[in-house]
Symmetry: C2
Subunit: 219 residues, 2 copies
């Protein structure tokens, strides 16, 4: 079995990606990030999901002292979905977040000899973050090929984005097919007792479940 590293946030997309990677017969290790996000709750959910999937996981802890995002800076207001203008990158964008996450994943993959990094980025029902798009992933892939020992020695680490072109409805349908424990996933940016229902992440999730026509099992 080939080894694979899955970036696991505890949300719907990354959990589905994890189960997809397992279905593809990868021996999966999960990477979970504790980076000062408001919704720390997702970290506990991610651990539960990894355990449920019988995969090992590592938690990487770091802080970005410069904040620069309403997802990290509690003094900033989290925007509701309706407050975000079309085409605008919302204030929840964490500068270079996926670049940082993938960098740790690259390091981990080199050390354990993983052949693939799975990331649940998708570009249909998403928040417009530049580090979720195909051209970014492709550019990152090229950079990895020449910037790592694995790359220069010909042991290519592939970045795989199984959800990249799926909309939220399709992701949920895939999750149901793969028996993802959706009740454990957490998407709300606020990270309070219950999902707020109005942040960008809640609204994307809500609309997805409405389109599938089922109740969100996490509610």
């Amino acid at each position: 079995m080939n080894k694979g590293v899955v970036l696991l946030s505890g949300g719907l997309d990354s959990a589905t990606t994890l189960y997809y990677a397992k279905k593809q017969r990868f021996k999966v290790s999960c990477l979970i990030f504790n980076y000062g996000q408001r919704h720390k709750k997702e970290i506990e959910r991610a651990k539960k999901i990894a355990k449920k999937a019988k995969c090992d996981y590592r938690v990487v802890n770091f802080q970005m002292p410069w904040l620069g995002s309403s997802l990290l800076d509690k003094k900033k207001k989290l925007p509701n979905r309706t407050e975000i203008k079309k085409g605008e990158i919302p204030s929840t964008y964490v500068p270079a977040r996926n670049i940082i996450f993938l960098s740790f994943a690259a390091s981990f993959s080199e050390v354990i000899g993983a052949k693939a990094i799975f990331i649940g980025a998708n570009v249909i029902d998403y928040s417009g973050y530049p580090d979720c798009r195909c051209d970014f992933i492709n550019a990152y892939q090229k950079m990895l090929g020449c910037g790592t020992k694995a790359g220069v020695e010909g042991n290519k680490i592939k970045i795989l984005t199984p959800l990249i072109k799926l909309n939220k409805e399709e992701i949920i349908r895939l999750a149901l097919k793969l028996k993802v424990p959706l009740e454990l996933t957490w998407s709300c940016y606020k990270g309070e007792k219950k999902p707020c229902g109005v942040c960008d992440s809640c609204r994307l999730r809500k609309r997805g479940f409405e389109k599938v026509g089922i109740k969100d099992p996490a509610e």
Copy 2:
């Protein structure tokens, strides 16, 4: 004045890069990494160098739980320069280290609106690490252009490598010209009271000073 971020390890090369960036009239902020390296001593030196240069600095703390390098894993033996075969990437290689460092620098640069990231990588008297070479830097640059808000909005962050083609002798000569406080720099991987004199980093430094024909002021 344009803002610039300098990756500052506390070694000879990064200190010279910092003074070079200042000479180029950048308003410099330094990034220092505490990532579980053996030679923690370099962190204190980096802070001193930043203060001496009258630049602000941020320290980013993280651990890579997977280690994978003799520079992080004290159970592994640090190789002497003479034990490293030609063309081999030595065990001191930290998987994806510069990729991770640059990723944090990209995030910081976006937040403060920096126009450039300075890194002291060089490919003549170096340890063969793949993440120090020109093609890696170029690929990283391209990836940044499409993976950050700054990039997609046309506020390009340039990665600058003023030392990339200098040998150690030339770097020391440049440092002397720029009045780099060489006495504060620390290169030894071991991080004990005095430099060991036999690790790869010590040997490269030693040979450089011999070629310049002066005593290393840090000794």
